[in-house]
């Protein structure tokens, strides 16, 4: 383990300046998107029904979590300590995407745009490209598969050496997490609708993949990670993942429950049958 420790500290090849640059490259899109969201809310509220405040709060919360994990003290801690890295991963890859999906940005966007522009966006949404990437299976492979590659190959070490990898991987973690959440619970308009059963089965498999990976990390620390940190990080990933997944499962089941609501007539017929 001693050797590993040494190894670990050696790999801070990325100097302070490039790390700060990476931090800002990662944080800027979130800041821009926050400004865009708030502007859209103001524009939309002038002509449409008032945009729900809780959605605005969710978007802000998601943005704050995402920025926290790429910029500032947490991001710096995450660079040297696997447990903090995992906390950042939960924020950037799971919680922030969940909050932002629940903030329904596409609905807001389509509502704010002029009709002809909104139609164009809808066309893009219906493209084969969008249909492919928002399929639960594809999104799960990008999300969970990406994590498997990150933590079971030397990519994790390389990420700490090369700024470009650091940036790309962090964007991927967020985008894949967002795509994954979006493909499971439909808040915004979707290019295609997948059945509840299909989504439930894929979600269970993806959840299993996430749980198995966290246990794998617990038993096999990624290169350059101390055993104690890998164990704590693995457990954080396992239980933290469970906590976020519970919300996704709950929302999926809630939508399912609402969709299968018995029709009024059926209810009346049943009541008649019961009274006989």
């Amino acid at each position: 383990m001693e050797g590993n420790h040494h190894h670990h500290h050696h790999h801070h090849a990325m100097d302070g300046t490039s790390f700060v640059m990476a931090e800002w490259i990662l944080a800027t899109p979130f800041i821009i998107l926050l400004a865009a969201y708030l502007t859209a809310v103001i524009i939309s509220n002038r002509t449409h029904k008032k945009w729900p405040v809780y959605r605005v709060v969710l978007w802000i919360a998601g943005t704050v979590l995402a920025i926290l994990s790429v910029l500032g003290p947490l991001a710096q801690l995450a660079h040297g300590d696997f447990v903090w890295h995992m906390a950042g991963h939960l924020f950037l890859g799971m919680l922030a995407p969940l909050f932002m999906v629940l903030a329904a940005p596409m609905t807001l966007f389509l509502r704010t745009l002029p009709t002809h522009a909104a139609r164009k966006v809808t066309t893009i949404l219906k493209s084969k490209f969008a249909v492919f990437y928002t399929d639960p299976i594809v999104a799960s492979i990008l999300n969970i598969g990406g994590l498997w590659i990150l933590y079971t190959t030397e990519l994790y070490t390389l990420m700490h050496e090369y700024v470009i990898l650091h940036i790309l991987i962090h964007f991927h973690v967020f985008l894949a997490g967002y795509l994954f959440t979006l493909s499971m619970i439909y808040i915004d308009p979707m290019p295609h609708i997948r059945s509840y059963l299909y989504r439930a089965v894929v979600l269970v498999l993806a959840l299993a993949g996430h749980g198995i990976l966290s246990k794998y990390i617990y038993a096999n620390p990624p290169e350059g990670v101390l055993r104690a940190q890998a164990e704590a990080g693995g457990m954080l990933m396992y239980y933290g993942g469970d906590a976020v997944d519970v919300i996704i499962i709950f929302i999926l089941c809630l939508h399912w429950y609402r969709a299968t609501k018995p029709k009024f007539q059926q209810m009346r017929r049943q009541a008649a049958a019961e009274s006989m």
Partner: protein
């Protein structure tokens, strides 16, 4: 033509299965949750992964955990659905809970603990005592479940 009576029977058959499944799903989720809470976290008798070589054990454990997590919530929503349809058969539902919990505990005790040897209940000399309590407990739950389910169909027939 469907008479209201046959419709009623069809409905009862559908919902009796749904009552059972709702209970089973919730039971599996509940017992898996209790196992993790009590034995993994509070007592720390065993951890979620005690052997780093049995890949199959790891995968089966992961799948089961994910399924049980979904089952807890899904089972409760199914119960809410039955309530909304005024079709709750509470005895049958509890029968399902005991069946699900017992079956899961027996699977855990036989397959995961003994066949795959992922983890043991506790790391002590006479682990057989713990195994017996664990598995007999599972069988007792299954028996209670079967009795409740049987009685729930009897009472329904009598009611007709």
């Amino acid at each position: 033509m469907e008479t209201p009576n046959t419709r009623n029977n069809i409905r009862e058959n559908n919902y009796s299965r749904r009552n059972l499944w709702s209970g089973i799903l919730f039971g599996i989720g509940l017992i898996a949750f209790v196992d993790e809470m009590v034995f993994h976290q509070l007592l720390r008798w065993h951890h979620f992964y005690d052997l780093s070589t049995t890949d199959i054990g790891l995968i089966s454990d992961g799948l089961f955990h994910a399924f049980s997590w979904f089952a807890t919530i899904g089972g409760l929503f199914l119960f809410a659905d039955l309530r909304r349809r005024h079709a709750v058969n509470i005895k049958r539902w509890w029968g399902g809970v005991f069946l699900g919990a017992g079956a899961f505990q027996l699977y855990d005790g036989i397959v995961q603990h003994k066949m795959m040897r992922i983890h043991q209940i506790r790391y002590v000399e006479n682990v057989i005592v713990y195994d017996l309590v664990w598995n007999i407990g599972a069988v007792v739950m299954i028996i209670i479940g079967v009795v409740l389910v049987k009685r729930s169909s009897h009472s329904r027939k009598k009611g007709e």
